[in-house]
């Protein structure tokens, strides 16, 4: 009997310990905190980029210095799981106090009252002003005339190229006179089948690929203010045709199948591709790769009928149900300040949103012409999004595959996609 009792007690102890183990993953900071002082407030700051963590941590440390009694816990959740976790947290009322917001998901969160309105705070505070950030970024986080985030950074798309391949073929580097025809011409000069080198990788990507081309041709993905698909516009169809021709007609780009097997950026860093479009957030792919560290460089995108690049920016938002709104607002204010943005830039995290703080980011790696990314913000087009984006993006995905592999004609594909997209967009018109 005693033996049995001992066994029961031990197994219950194990059960308790395993339950505590499960529970403590998220709250270890609180336990730590309670040891320090009962008045300390701990804010959780949710982010998804491990590369940017040092910069975020540095900003949090500086904030803690300036605000004794408030601690900030930076929690990184990889991109693939970030939104799932956030949604589960939102449904359960346990969102982080402050967290990164992305234009793809902003509307959903704003409409369901998951975010704290911060526009009034910015208006009332003499030290804060939305004029400090690019207008387009501020608008991205506006809903029903109210603001729900303070811009954190922006990213643009640039043209990256391999200087060595250009030197070997004795072709001058890309500059600001380049247009679509020049791009095709040079790509043809650089494509060398015997060496297995492609002139330009026409990546199957929207933000880093053909969206830029669409807007350069004065087409659109969603017609402004109309909530209608822009895919049936002749300008858009023409643009997608240009992108597809690079693969199928001019043969200066690897095929869709090849770019699926090996990602375009992997092809670029292995020296198999001379040029491609790339987002500014991917800089570390170039700086950490031995092959391309020395030979890569960046230029502004060539122009079509006009200059355009897709830009996007993250925002910092506060959970509507946060237990510490005053402290969270203080932290948000700090994150939007010039000082914080400079810290962000120094750590090479991302191009900071605050006007005039981009210089440290550009100096972060002087080998590359990082200025090209910042310069293009002047003609940037905000990354198109809408409430039902996660539905029509799937239709887009399907047609992209068919058009870029030549299975259906571009005109057919675009028109069919426009129809399906309009079905989803129609549900948004209330």
């Amino acid at each position: 009997m005693l033996k049995r009792k001992v066994v029961i007690v031990i197994s219950f102890m194990f059960l308790m310990m395993s339950m505590m183990g499960c529970g403590s993953k998220g709250t270890s900071s609180n336990v730590e905190n309670n040891k320090d002082s009962k008045k300390d407030v701990t804010l959780t700051y949710g982010i998804w980029d491990k590369n940017q963590e040092p910069g975020m941590r540095a900003m949090a440390d500086r904030f803690e210095e300036l605000n004794p009694g408030i601690k900030v816990n930076v929690e990184v959740t990889p991109w693939d799981e970030y939104w799932m976790k956030l949604e589960a947290a939102a449904t359960g009322g346990a969102l982080p106090d402050v967290f990164w917001m992305h234009t793809n998901q902003f509307l959903r969160y704003a409409q369901s009252d998951m975010l704290l309105e911060v526009g009034t705070m910015v208006e009332k505070d003499p030290e804060l002003s939305y004029d400090n950030y690019p207008e387009g970024l501020v608008k991205m986080y506006e809903y029903n005339g109210k603001n729900y985030a303070i811009p954190k950074d922006f990213d643009t798309i640039g043209l990256i190229y391999n200087r060595k391949i250009f030197d070997d073929a004795k072709v001058p580097y890309p500059d600001d006179t380049w247009d679509w025809d020049k791009l095709v011409e040079v790509a043809k000069q650089l494509t060398d089948e015997s060496k297995g080198i492609w002139g330009f990788a026409a990546e199957n990507s929207s933000q880093s690929g053909f969206y830029n081309i669409i807007y350069q041709n004065q087409g659109s993905v969603i017609k402004e203010d109309l909530l209608e698909s822009g895919y049936d516009m002749p300008e858009t169809i023409e643009a997608i045709q240009f992108w597809t021709d690079l693969i199928l007609k001019h043969k200066v780009s690897p095929t869709l199948a090849q770019m699926t097997d090996t990602t375009p950026i992997a092809l670029f860093t292995s020296g198999k591709v001379a040029m491609m479009f790339m987002g500014s957030w991917m800089i570390t792919e170039l700086t950490t790769n031995e092959n391309t560290k020395e030979v890569a460089d960046i230029a502004i995108l060539p122009k079509g009928k006009t200059r355009a690049t897709i830009y996007n920016g993250l925002g910092n938002s506060i959970s509507a149900k946060t237990k510490y709104p005053e402290e969270a607002k203080k932290f948000l204010k700090f994150l939007g300040s010039k000082e914080a943005n400079l810290i962000q830039a120094e750590h090479g995290s991302a191009i900071p949103a605050f006007e005039g703080t981009q210089a440290p980011w550009i100096q972060y790696n002087t080998k590359y012409n990082l200025w090209a990314f910042v310069e293009m913000l002047d003609y940037g087009i905000p990354f198109p999004s809408s409430e039902t984006k996660n539905k029509w993006e799937r239709n887009e995905e399907t047609y992209r595959l068919k058009m870029f592999s030549g299975e259906i004609s571009v005109e057919e594909g675009c028109k069919a996609l426009a129809e399906e997209m309009n079905e989803h967009l129609a549900t948004e018109k209330k």
Partner: protein
């Protein structure tokens, strides 16, 4: 009358012996329930309750952040009208047909070979079992590189003998076949170990008797091994089928949405993931998974009926 009372007494005695009224039994039963309680509670909370909840969700239209609206059979109507779902059902069956029979047959052959008294059986068994303990993500990454059309090892070896290898993962005709190869490879070890255990339960005396009677090894295999291992084979077939119908990770990690071959390899559970976590339509996703559940139920039920025909219980 007295006789009938006498007749009753032993039965009553038995009753008391096993019933709760007996104090000794009572305490035994309580300990028993306490011992299984942690597992049962865990099972209830983490397995049974989610199943019930998913079934409920399949009859609702889920909006953002948990507000659900009961819509009855609407999700199922959309489900069965969608040709993509039917194609996915077919792809799921394709995968199952390619992986399960061949996989189990190969596992059985290997198990039989490893049951022999040869040197180094432990090493061989370890090698064959290793794929089972390797993380699926690692398997996907390595095999993706092996199958790479331009730079992968398989096509490289084929070109050394003058053959041009196909686009294993990006060609609609080859993609499902490639996934099946990885599917068989990764489950061989698991089935093998179970079948090996079953084989070791067959008394040597049967084989010796057969040898004396002049039966060759192939005859012995089909007339002794297979009947006596049929219960184990039955178990392995059922679990194999259940697993194959739930195929998701290989499609998600080796093919994925940007791949031109995705339309010819999407399985039901891949569509469940896409619907539930990318498009955020959890009601529809629940309906998809209920459909997969029903398929598994039907196939398992058929198996249990067929059991009487081919499984030999001693």
């Amino acid at each position: 009358m007295k006789q009938s009372i006498e007749a009753l007494k032993p039965a009553q005695g038995k009753k008391i012996k096993n019933s709760w009224r007996n104090k000794k039994n009572c305490s035994n039963y309580i300990w028993a329930y306490l011992m299984v309680a942690p597992t049962i509670i865990g099972l209830m909370i983490l397995n049974i309750w989610p199943v019930i909840r998913t079934a409920y969700l399949s009859f609702t239209e889920t909006a953002s952040f948990g507000s659900n609206k009961w819509i009855g059979l609407e999700n199922y109507k959309t489900l069965f009208r969608d040709s993509i779902i039917w194609k996915a059902t077919w792809h799921t069956f394709q995968f199952t047909i390619l992986v399960v029979p061949l996989g189990i047959f190969l596992s059985l052959v290997i198990a039989a070979l490893l049951n022999a008294k040869i040197k180094g059986t432990t090493i061989y068994r370890t090698i064959y079992f290793l794929p089972v303990v390797v993380a699926p993500a690692a398997i996907a990454i390595v095999w993706k590189w092996l199958f790479n059309a331009d730079f992968g090892l398989i096509n490289h070896m084929l070109s050394a003998v003058g053959l041009k290898g196909p686009n294993w993962l990006t060609n609609s005709k080859w993609a499902m076949f490639s996934l099946s190869i990885v599917g068989i490879w990764s489950t061989l070890g698991y089935n093998m170990i179970i079948l090996l255990a079953g084989l070791q339960g067959i008394p040597r005396s049967y084989y010796e008797a057969a040898e004396i009677d002049g039966a060759g090894s192939i005859r012995q295999f089909f007339n002794i091994t297979i009947p006596l291992i049929s219960p184990t084979l039955f178990f392995v077939t059922i679990t194999g089928l259940m697993g194959a119908i739930q195929q998701f990770d290989l499609v998600y990690m080796m093919i994925g949405p940007g791949n031109p071959a995705i339309e010819s390899t999407q399985t039901l559970l891949y569509l469940f993931y896409r619907s539930g976590f990318v498009v955020n339509d959890k009601g529809f996703a629940s309906a998809i998974v209920m459909w997969a559940f029903l398929l598994i139920l039907i196939i398992t039920f058929i198996q249990f009926i067929l059991q009487k025909k081919w499984v030999f219980y001693e």
